[in-house]
């Protein structure tokens, strides 16, 4: 039951498995059933389950989110897909004012088994309106769960868990991860609220979300050659948050960088940094450092786009500063960035 596949394949496999297992699961959203299939992540579903369980919609994010809620309240398990998280700004009213609190206000009578999938982050010259992440928005609101997988296995297992969850889950998938390949064990389940140590080390803990794990692992690879071992913790689920795994790691390394794929100000990196400082007050040798987007909208032109996004280079430089090391010569280094293999137009 193990196979090698891309992140995008693991997503469609997870949905297919759940749709097979439970006739109340369906998937819908703009462009979900067209031939591009949301960057391939809904591939095969129309063929297997028909247009009644995998269908497109008008351009109406606000109403379609309400529709998903209504279907969930009726006992179905909708998966609503957005090709860009930015478009969810049109759905914030349903998410923040309805989905997050109808259960609470009904005294627990209403149940909302609903997954909203959205693509986040960098593509290719996407500019300010197709490049956000915004996990902090969703995580800020009680009543929502927020998941950010990094590997094909996690995407697969966490998406299955999210679909089975009886609560609303926001599932955020980085565009660049879609091409990442990895082994997927179809039987493996992963609960929400479970961080994982991607790499063991003793020098500095890098707590990372989504694509930043790729950058952190690359930074670790580079620094390892200098004998410095980074520990990389993949948060995976923003809410519920696995504090223990994170705190344990920081108590061990006593130094921490939070590398969140989002803006820093009032972002999830602030939450983590504040939490870690609070719980590791007497353990930290240095203050927790935070890494995120440049505090501006994302520009289109490549040289500025490159500066906008945080990367392995930033992590390396911060580690060097933390440990009082000379700067590593990175001139010969090639980074995992998809800057070069990602071609237009979208």
């Amino acid at each position: 039951m193990k196979s090698f596949m891309t992140f995008r394949e693991s997503l469609s496999l997870a949905v297919a498995k759940e749709m097979e297992a439970d006739p109340s699961v369906f998937v819908f959203g703009l462009d979900v059933p067209d031939h591009k299939r949301i960057f391939g992540s809904t591939k095969g579903l129309v063929e297997k389950f028909g247009l009644e369980r995998c269908f497109g919609t008008p351009l109406s994010e606000d109403a379609m989110t309400g529709v998903a809620l209504g279907a969930a309240l009726s006992g179905l398990r909708p998966i609503h897909v957005h090709i860009r998280v930015d478009f969810m700004m049109l759905a914030m009213n349903q998410i923040v004012n309805m989905i997050s609190n109808l259960r609470y206000m009904s005294g627990g009578k209403l149940t909302i088994p609903l997954v909203i999938r959205a693509v986040i982050g960098r593509g290719w010259g996407q500019s300010a309106q197709h490049s956000k992440s915004l996990q902090s928005f969703f995580a800020h609101i009680p009543g929502l769960k927020v998941v950010m997988p990094t590997t094909p296995q996690d995407a697969y297992s966490l998406l299955r868990t999210s679909i089975r969850d009886d609560n609303p889950v926001i599932f955020l998938e980085h565009r660049w991860l879609y091409d990442v390949e990895g082994e997927v064990d179809e039987r493996k389940t992963i609960p929400l609220g479970n961080a994982t140590v991607r790499r063991q080390g003793d020098a500095v803990t890098v707590v990372a979300t989504s694509w930043m794990n790729v950058e952190a692992l690359k930074a670790a690879e580079v620094l390892e050659r200098r004998g410095i071992q980074l520990e990389v913790v993949d948060v995976r689920s923003i809410t519920p948050l696995d504090e223990e795994t994170i705190i344990q790691s920081v108590k061990k390394t006593r130094r921490c960088i939070v590398a969140d794929y989002d803006w820093a100000f009032c972002g999830f990196s602030a939450e983590l940094a504040s939490l870690i400082h609070h719980r590791c007050f007497n353990d930290l040798k240095k203050p927790v450092e935070r890494l995120g987007f440049a505090p501006v909208p994302c520009p289109t032109t490549r040289p500025l786009e490159n500066l906008f996004y945080p990367s392995a280079v930033h992590i390396i430089r911060i580690v060097e500063q933390m440990l009082g090391l000379e700067k590593t010569d990175l001139s010969g280094e090639s980074f995992y960035s998809y800057e070069h293999n990602f071609k237009g137009p979208f």
């Binding site: 309400g66 009726s74 009886d166």
Partner: protein, 324 residues
């Protein structure tokens, strides 16, 4: 269906509901000044015949959704005055254990699914429930009530479009009191008539004067029948007169944005007076009506007493009901 098709029994049951919703709200008006019901109340006095009439026509298992102005709808769907007053007093015997309050009443066990204090927000949710019915090949109808202001929100148009596109059995009921808080329609709407615009969508339409319970029933029956015959959304538009202030227990004719209806007008605006007259014309005796009224009054008084005596939720309740 013709007006005269209502049997006497049916008529009196309807009267009971109508007067129940009216008297429950009159009771709120009495009690509210004691400052024990700590929740903003949007009273529906003048509009009761719309939910009472529409719900009368709904087939069994019809889910309904509404707004913050939901008291009549709650009572029309459930007749549950105990839960109703329990919730208004913030007590554990309310269907939301006091967490919901007046603006968020719901009673899912009786198909009264959800209401919301953000205008327009239950409209797409009702469409989603109708989609779920279609998904399950059920012919059940879902109904959603909203005000004339809600049609200005984009989500109304998105929801209408999707429902028509998918031929869903969802009944949109616009309760048009000509006001959004204090602002008249002509200061908010750039179209001549909502019905004319909705007619250009692929759905059945109907409506009329919302104070006329029999008329409401007649047009609802018509549209629901069409919906049952061939699945498509229905849209009902009923006008009515809001007797009280937008939120709260008082009249506000001194506020300057409208004037008090004259006694002659009143007669043509009040659904209770109107239906009582109809009933009497059709042979009901005033004594029959006042007997019903009396029993309803007692029921309400008892529920208020129960609510007052019931406990508030305990502190631990703050943290329950967030997740399954």
């Amino acid at each position: 269906m013709q007006k005269d098709i209502l049997s006497k029994e049916e008529s009196l049951a309807l009267y009971r509901k109508l007067i129940l919703t009216r008297l429950a709200e009159e009771k709120i008006r009495e009690e509210y000044f004691k400052d024990e019901m700590k929740t903003p109340v949007h009273l529906g006095i003048g509009g009761e015949a719309i939910p009472v009439g529409v719900c009368h026509c709904l087939p069994p298992r019809s889910k309904t959704f509404g707004t913050y102005r939901n008291h009549s709808l709650y009572l029309a769907m459930t007749e549950d005055t105990d839960g109703f007053f329990g919730e208004l007093y913030g007590k554990v015997n309310g269907p939301g254990k006091g967490k919901a309050g007046s603006m968020h009443l719901s009673f899912p066990e009786r198909d009264f699914i959800a209401t919301s204090a953000v205008v327009g927000t239950t409209i797409p949710v009702a469409v989603g429930a109708a989609l779920a019915n279609a998904y399950r090949k059920s012919n059940d109808v879902v109904t959603v009530f909203f005000g004339d202001g809600a049609v200005e929100e984009g989500v109304f148009w998105e929801s209408l479009n999707f429902a028509c596109l998918k031929n869903l059995r969802v009944l949109f009921v616009c309760e048009d009191n000509g006001l959004a808080i204090h602002t008249p329609a002509k200061e908010r709407q750039g179209f001549q008539s909502i019905l004319e615009t909705v007619k250009t969508f692929d759905c059945y339409v109907g409506g009329g004067q919302g104070h006329d319970l029999q008329g409401v029933i007649q047009s609802t029956h018509q549209v629901v029948k069409q919906m049952e015959d061939q699945p498509k959304p229905g849209f009902l538009h009923f006008t009515y007169y809001r007797f009280l202030e937008h939120v709260g227990p008082r009249e506000d004719f001194d506020a300057g944005y409208r004037s008090r209806p004259t006694p002659d007008n009143l007669d043509g605006l009040d659904p209770v007076l109107c239906f009582e007259r109809d009933l009497c014309q059709n042979g009901c005796k005033p004594s029959e009506l006042s007997a019903i009224k009396k029993s309803v009054e007692e029921k309400i008084a008892k529920s208020v007493l129960t609510a007052q005596k019931t406990d508030f939720p305990s502190s631990e309740e703050l943290y329950t009901d967030l997740f399954v």
